[in-house]
Subunit: 217 residues, 2 copies
């Protein structure tokens, strides 16, 4: 496995290659390489059994390819948590450095880093961190930032930084309380929550990354 192949597999995954056929054109666009290079890489990955190739249609990840993709995403997201939480990166700065680091990380390193970070479940964007074996953990809670307007939820878990807990106290947001997400503004705007008792609370965009909720159907 070279960094190039890793990026290619990851790109297929991110374009939905777990379930759908991903076209060469899509890969040309996301990886910024020529169509000829895509065909070439396809034949290489096909030979290694990581993808299924349907000529003139595109590719899908095999079971083996999917496992590798998830393990890469695991590395990427664990680094993102490190960059954001420990090095003070803003959550939109983490991506490019995590992209470099994920290709230079031994399994030992990732496992130790994971423990150092307290075995996080989500990355700073709210994405789930896959397990070591490439499987996806069963999640009963979702970062609030991932929710859409109108859903009802219950507060499940919050970031335990002192300052943040004080903020939540001030906003009267606490574990177990139920809300409806009345509004979520675009461009990193605020979120409006309405509790079952009817009070409305407006919270900041970044706070919504640090609040995990369970959806109520």
């Amino acid at each position: 496995m070279t960094p190039n192949k890793e990026d290619f597999i990851k790109a297929i995954f991110e374009l939905g290659g777990q379930t759908q056929v991903v076209t060469n054109k899509d890969l040309v666009r996301t990886l910024s390489i020529s169509a000829a290079s895509v065909t070439e890489m396809n034949t290489r990955l096909l030979k290694e059994g990581l993808i299924t190739h349907l000529p003139y249609q595109g590719v899908i990840l095999t079971e083996k390819g999917l496992t590798i993709a998830n393990q890469l995403i695991r590395k990427h997201r664990i680094w993102e948590v490190f960059l954001a939480e420990k090095l003070g990166y803003d959550w939109n700065e983490v991506h490019s450095d995590a992209d470099l680091l994920e290709h230079a990380s031994s399994d030992l390193l990732i496992e130790r880093l994971n423990i150092f970070l307290g075995e996080p479940t989500f990355d700073p964007h709210g994405g789930v961190i896959p397990n070591k074996d490439g499987s996806i953990p069963e999640i009963h809670s979702t970062p609030l930032i991932e929710c859409t307007k109108g859903v009802q939820f219950k507060i499940k878990e919050v970031d335990d930084q002192e300052e943040f807990l004080e903020y939540l106290l001030y906003k009267k947001v606490h574990l177990g309380k139920e809300y409806t997400l009345v509004d979520i503004e675009p461009y990193d705007g605020p979120l409006t929550l309405k509790s079952t008792s009817g009070e409305e609370t407006i919270i900041g965009h970044k706070a919504a990354f640090k609040i995990l909720v369970e959806l109520i159907d």
Copy 2:
């Protein structure tokens, strides 16, 4: 700059290429590549002005090459500190992972990591961490582990972990006290110190990494 070139420059430096001519043979041995590949890489680095080449003799780093070597060593050693102090690597485990990470680190990342680590001066092996610009900081203290049998020194600085401070208290080692290094055993063995008042103290090998001393001439 590619990882390969970086490794090559670093190898020249580590073989003494700052002051002496490093032969192709030495590079063949340390990098485990063929003699032909060494010649080839030499011509590449020569073209980039990173080395001076004396045909049939070997290479020396130019000013430019030296700066790059030191910046690489900076990255390497900062990662070593991280691996040892934060991820609990043993000091002899850090090298290989640091070797991977040093090629995947943006300048921003290294500067933030450096701050996160408290701007350390030495790596876990006692090596000095070069400055951002590739210069070497003026050091008045040396890790005790770097000292040779017979030298006299004064305790300048010690690691400030609670547990370690208690150990030093118990051993009666404190700042400002002067000693002679009576013995230092091979194979990570203990060190024997003799204070000016004549008492001898035996301390563990690992403790000697955490004690900085100033040599007395």
